[in-house]
Structure formats: structure tokens, C-alpha cells
Amino acid sequence: MNRLPLRGLPRAALCIGVGLVLAGPAVRAVDDTENLQQELRRTREELSATRDALERLSERVEAMEAASVEAPPEPTPVATATARIAPVNADNPAVSVVVDTAFAQDARHSYESIGYPNGADFSLKGAELFISAPIDPFLRGYASLSGSSDEGFDIEEAALITTALPWNLTVKAGRFFADVGRLSHWHDEALPFVDRPPSIDRLIGGESGSEGVEVSWLAPIDPYLELTAGVYDTVGAEYLEDLNDNGFFGRRDFDELTVLARPHTYLDLTDTLNAELGGTWFGQPRDHARNLWAVDLTVRHQPGTSGVYQGLVIGSEWLWNQQLFVQRDPMGVVVGRIRHDRTGGYAYAEAFFSRRYSLGTRFDYSESPDLVNDLARTASAFVTWMPSEFQRLRFQLDTSWGDQRSNQRYTLQWTAFIGSHSHGFAQR
């Protein structure tokens, strides 16, 4: 009997069994790897598809963004116009109101002759309604109606200005501030100080208010040169008021009218430094009743920096006034005539800081046009803060001395602009 095969069978079966037992996990491992590889492939494919979809989506979004910015405007009036111009209703011109209010106190004594009364007061320095619009292609019109605590309601200006005359000519007519010097034709709220310099107030008679006609010519050359000539009832707000209050409403002989001439030039000294120089003469021909000569000089440093210091303005005007005064007795009868030669002027410097602040100082020398022994000198310091372009707080301290007792005065001024307020190039 051959027992070997029989003896070897269980052994072989055992070997196969052990082999199968040992080989089982290896077979499963091969399957798992394949599965994982397949899953990885699928995931990669899905990821790639997602990435492609994202890229397509991103490109579409970018294209939509670009299209939304690049596309020319829809066929509205803009597409056929040559410019985008802010809409203006022809029936409703630019309107603005300025509210200019102040508190002032004289610390010692009054200095009445330069408008510094004794004591303390709140005042509405001015509430000005300003209206401006083109009238037609050849004419522009504007009006400034003002009311204040001191002077009540008044039409400060109401004038027409040509816009299309040839040869660089412009004609202005109506009631307006005549082109005298620099600050005398600025509105109160546009001044760099809380008050008009006493010298201008006294010798010109407040702002250069007038009723008349003015022609100006801009020389067609590279340097700026403008010549102005005018004829008026009179020049000076106080004189105009007197004239219109006397019952004749300003009517008078031709040689009693006031005539004016003013050359005005400007030079860029460097890129950041410039100067303006002007001269003015106005007079009343009959009896040479009034002759006023004035020179004005303004130097500006405008560095255009973004730092703390942002610029400096130095301005000065000097006036010589020769005027004939009628002397009357207490009954109003003319008893004589007297001619006075008086002078006055101011100089100021204002430095600008950090877009919101400015700090300045002014010295003013003024003689009364008619009174004897009424010289006033005023030294002032002022600081201005503008919380925005449309409101301003200013504090000014004045010390006055001269033929009256010395006086200290401080004023706090608060000014705000409602609407589109701009007096334009002349009050830059």
C-alpha cells in the first residue's frame, strides 16, 4: 500500500489552506488599491471639471463687470451731446443763502468812528440771498439781496453782464460793486476777516456799491492784463445810500457822475509764487468833488502741498482820498466848503494749515475822510476753522488806538452757506 500520497494529501491541503488564508488579504489589498486609484481618478476629474466651471464662471463675471464699465452709455441725450453738464432748470437759477452771524464785545471803550461800538452784542451780520443764471447766449444776470441787524434789508447787487461781446470786452450794468481795488468789491462773508478793513470802510464808504455801467477789456496777450472803465452815480455803499435817500434817487448832472479807471495785472513769479498788482482812480469831475487813488498788491504762495503748511497770502491796499465837503450851519444853510486830503490802508498776512485752518494778522491805518483828529490804527489777529467747505468759524481780536481812547474788541463769527454759493473769479 502506497501511503505516501495519502499521507501527503492532508499536508498539501493544509499548505493550500494556509496559502489561501495567507493570500486572501493580499488579494483584497490589490482590489482596494485599484478602487482607491479609481476614486482618485474620479475625484481628479471632478475637481478638474469644477475648476473649469469656476474659471468659466469667473471669466463670465469679469466679462460682465468689464461690459458694465466699458459699455458706452445707453442712447440717452448724453450719447448725442458733446458734454455731460449738470442738469439746470432754466426756470430755476442757481440760488444760495449765506447766514453770517457774530458775537462781539468791546473790552474797554468804544471806537465808534471805525464801527466798534461799546458793549457786547449778538448780530446777524448778514443773510444774503444770491441768485445767478445765464439769461440767453449773450447775457448773464445775478442779484444779491441782503439783510442785517445794522442795515436792514437791501439789494446789494442786481446786475447784467454780457458774455459774448467781441474783442474781449465785457459790459456790466445795474447795481453792483464797482471794480475798486481788491477787497472793496468782496461781499462781507467772503472777506478773510470778520470785518471790512476800517480804512476801506471809511475812505470808500463800505463796499464799493454803485449804480452805473462798467466796461472791462482783457488784453489778448499772454500776461494777464485787464483794464476797467466805469461811470456811476457814485461809488461807495454809504454814498449810494445817501444819494438815493435824498429824494432825487441819484439823478444829477452828467459831470456829477463818478468815473473810474483801473488797470490790473498778474504775474507768476515762480511755479508756486505769484503776485497781483492793481491801481484804481475814481473821481467826480464837477469841482473835483472827489478823487480817490488806490493801489493794491497781493502776493500768494501756493505750494500745493499736502503737509501741514498749505500756503500764504499777503495782501495790501493803500488809498488816497481828496474830497470836497460842504459845511452847513445848524439850520442846514451852506456856509462854506472844505477840501480834505486823507489816506489809509491795510496790510495782512494769512497762512493756511491742514486744509481746515488759517491764521492771520492785519494792520490798518485809517484817517476819517471828513473829521479832524480822527486817526485810527487797528492791529488784528484772526484764526479760522472750516469744519467743511460750507461753514466757517472765525475768531478775531482787534486792538485800536489813535485819536480816540484805545480799545480792545473780540468777535466770534459763524458763517454758513446754503446752496451753490460762489461769487466767482472776482472774489478768489
Binding site: 451731446a81 458734454a83 459774448a164 482783457l218 494777464y224 497781483e276 500768494r300 500745493g304 467743511s388
Partner: protein, 313 residues
Amino acid sequence: MALPSASPHRILSCIACALWLALAATPAAAVLRVVASTPDVADITSQIGGERVSVMTIAEGSQDPHKVPVKPSFVTKLNRADALVVQGLNLEHAFVPALLEAARNARILPGAVGYIDASLYVKPLEVPSSQSRVQGELHPLGNPHYNLDPEQGLPMARAIAEGLERVDPAGADAYRAGLARFSQLLERKISEWKTLAAPLRGLKVVSYHRDLPYLASRYGLEIVGTIEVKPGIPATPGHLQELLATMEREKVKVIIREISYDPGLARSLAERTGAQVAEISALAGGLGAPGYIGSLEANLRALLAAAQAGSSG
């Protein structure tokens, strides 16, 4: 020896000769005298117009376009100009209307042939729905700082070229060629900048003035605040405290200061938050780079440098 006497006839002849020589020696004048309100539109006009135009610019690159001084010397230039090119959307409200009032030149008044508005084909962003000044100094026609977005250079150039052609029809071919040349150059740069600007996408920034919506939209910047309280309204202490809190919450890494604005506030905020300050110019040439395209690139590189420093800091 006596000098020969100078008769009046001889003197007049000499003067006439001198005048003739002076006139003859004067180089041929350019066809169009153009005044441009900003360096951006000035450069594009020069590139399109070439030798057919002589361009004078009012605002300088380093200036705040809202506060350009009104100088009488600009009046004489405007008086004799054949065309005025403006960036438009009321950007120049602080100086162009006052200058035009004094310039006595009806040819360049708004709506006239010589008034060239570069914004004509730009689609404005942030057009206000109300004009209340509670919202600050709003521009009624929309945000006017579109020039900072390179893509807007193309519609700007188109409007300028068409304007020049309107004023000077004889030069139409030259202006069209100039437009094609400029547009090609700008498009090539835009393509380069698109790749270069990739790191800016999603970057949270604070700017000084609200003048970045076009630029932000182009490069994907996220503006989380401005140093100004509202457009044109300077910062207050309370607003700065709120801005600091916002910057910390939003993890703002870059403050963008337009060079015409106060460097102190941006620096102070940067010191307190660890953010980087990127100095850009709202008008061409402010950073010293030449021309409109050069300025756009200088701005982009300043942003990239700050973004990189902010992310590594």
C-alpha cells in the same frame, strides 16, 4: 566824425524789418491751442493730437483736483484756446467755472464745440440719488475719479479724439490714427497689468478720499472705509476711532493715501494698526511717472508693494 542822421523813414524801415524777421523766426504755430483741466486728459490729448495740438495743463499731478488755485494766468490761456478738455463729471467745479467766467471765450463754454468732455462715454459709478450735503460734497453726475481705472482710458481717448475732430475736422485722419495708436498701447498695458494685479483681488483697503471705486472695481480691491468722514468732509476724532475699530475687525493691511492729502493721518492709522501705506496719485504725474499710462502703472506698483509688505508683515 559825425554819425549819420537817423531819418524817421529809416527808423520805420528798421522797425518793419525787425518785425518781419521776428515773425519769420517764430516757429510754425500748432493748429489747435488746447487747455486741459488735468494732466490725465492733457497727456491723452497730446498723444492723440501729436503735432497738431499744443496743450497747456491747469491742474498739476500733485494737486487735489477739488482745490486747484484759480490763477489769472490760466484766464489768458483759456481766452485764446481753441478747445478746453475736461475730465468732467464736475471734477473741476472748484476752478473751471470761475476761470471760464473770466476768460471771455464762448468757443469753449460747456456745450460749445470747443468744450471737450472726456467723460462722455464713461459709465459713471456712485451717481447720487439725492443731492443733500448731509452726504458731503457729492458730485451730481457721479464719482468723477474714473481716470484711475486703466480701462476708462479707452472711452476717455475716444471722447477726446472725437472732440478734437469736431474742432478741427481737417485733422480727422491724424486724430483717428492717434486714437488707434494710444488705444493699442493702453490695451497692451491693460493686459500686462491684469496679470500683475492678481494679488490685489480681495485686498481690504482704506482710502483717504472716496476716489477709488473705479480702480477698486477693476482690480478687485475691497474698500472698507475712508479717512474723510464723507466726501470732502475732513476726519473727526470720533470717525477715526470708528475707522480704527473697522480696520482691526476687517484686518485691513493697506491704507491708500492719495498724495494730495495729509500724510500724517494715514501714517498715524498705519502705526496703530500695522497696516502699510500705499501712496498713489489721483492725477497723472503726481508720483513722477511720465504721462497717463506711466502714472497708472506707478499707482499699481505702489499698491502691489504695499499689499506685499502688508501680507508679509
